[in-house]
Subunit: 277 residues, 2 copies
């Protein structure tokens, strides 16, 4: 496994790959969720490249850029074991040099949900992912369903900007007790870690109600909100029941829907979701 930092090293390494290349873009501090993406890439492509870059432009001014957890050595060991060919770990200065001034923006799909609470977040995501795609020129790229809106936005960007890249979205990986895996779980105190189970528990209750025949979106949202309200450490930012394709809130579930939430547990902002239908 080769670890490169500069664009020049990346280009040289990429030019030596023949056959298909799968890219797994990450911000590092890898967990089983990332590794499931690597395994999917490994199974589908001749070569696997993983980028590790904590992208400053997708963090808001009051968000956790400085504190975001980093551990390149541990990440590299995990990726080596997982059979990755190439790790690209660029510096912020090389990704955003002086006089940087170009942005990729997806419009409608970035307005609701995360986009509503994190202005500029998706512009940072789509811009950096476009850069990763351009520099690596993968045939397939792998994203997690945990960041459901991100996956939808990237799919839209790929379609709109004519990238000849297949976007593969892999299921959420959860701890044994149901908590969706996230690098940000490391922020949680033991007490908050227990409290954080309310997210998945609430979503699973609503999924059970859906399976039992409930199709009223307001009722499903209220079921989730009532369940979240039982946890004093949880502070709800939003609970959404939206069309899976457009991410617009629905009244009645006829097509596949995304039931999603953002919840603060202490000072840590967590997101989770289930697909209904």
């Amino acid at each position: 496994m080769q670890i490169v930092h500069s664009f020049q090293e990346l280009r040289s390494a990429r030019s030596q790959m023949s056959g298909t290349v799968g890219l797994v873009p990450t911000m590092g501090f890898l967990h089983e969720g990332h590794l499931s993406l690597v395994r999917a890439a490994r199974a589908a492509c001749d070569h696997v490249a993983v980028s590790i870059f904590v992208n400053p432009t997708q963090f808001g001014p009051k968000e956790d850029l400085a504190n975001y957890p980093r551990d390149l050595d541990h990440d590299a060991a995990l990726l080596e074991k997982a059979g990755v060919d190439l790790v690209w770990n660029p510096t912020p200065e090389e990704m955003y040099p002086q006089n940087y001034q170009t942005w990729v923006s997806v419009e409608d799909l970035t307005r609701p949900l995360e986009g509503g609470y994190r202005p500029g977040h998706f512009r940072g995501v789509t811009t950096v992912v476009a850069k990763l795609f351009n520099a690596v020129q993968p045939h397939k790229a792998f994203f997690g369903q945990k960041d459901a809106q991100q996956a939808a936005v990237i799919r839209q960007m790929v379609r709109d900007l004519s990238y000849p890249i297949e976007i593969v979205v892999c299921p959420i990986q959860r701890e044994a007790d149901g908590l969706a895996m996230s690098s940000r779980n490391t922020y949680l105190s033991p007490q908050e870690r227990r409290a954080a189970l309310v997210l998945s528990r609430s979503l699973f209750k609503a999924r059970d109600a859906y399976t039992a025949g409930s199709r009223d979106a307001a009722a499903l949202r209220q079921l989730v909100l009532d369940s979240l309200a039982q946890e004093p450490l949880a502070n709800v930012q939003y609970v959404s029941c939206a069309d899976f394709e457009t991410l617009q809130e629905v009244d009645t579930l006829q097509h596949p829907a995304l039931l999603s939430m953002a919840v603060y547990v202490g000072k840590t902002r967590l997101i989770d979701n289930v697909i209904l239908g």
Copy 2:
């Protein structure tokens, strides 16, 4: 020479090209300026692809999209003779399908000059060029110095978005009497065609003054304006003497400068420029 329309045909044709690929993006109605780009591509690359697409998103609501001249058969004959391998002529519906919502924007460089008078123009240009780059994946792409700001904006986009593509900018091609070649010259009546010579004549006067030692930008702009004022059919939109890299207006010419203008001759908007230094 193969002519393709759909993305699928393009991908199939592109996958059969080994070695380096040069792309010449055009809006068709080709003239000697375009053909000079094709020759440069032919000399530098194993394969040459030319896109012909009158891109609606770079035209303002009051601009000449509907009337923009088109002649695919004539274009194809010229390109075949010039040794082009592949012509890609997509439809607006395939380039901008329903629910299209992704844009590539370059900020600072698009604010002055053309960007100031044609709001949204460069967003349309950078977006379509990104799409052309993604779909064709060329090693080099060729643009004309006639659209000087466009060339600078594309260079910035390529640098910022990490495209592994070399941008080659070729000199302005002029008619024997000095008029810069442009598909829009076809709009000119015989009288306007004669009047349009005032653009290049004024620029050449200023270039002579520069060569003779003049370094005062205001004096050079005034020299051009005075010269343009002698032609009753010419209606000046702007005359600029700007830094060649930043496109910001300068006081004194120390670095290479771009002396440029937009002038209406009758109802036809013409642009022209010379590089000083």
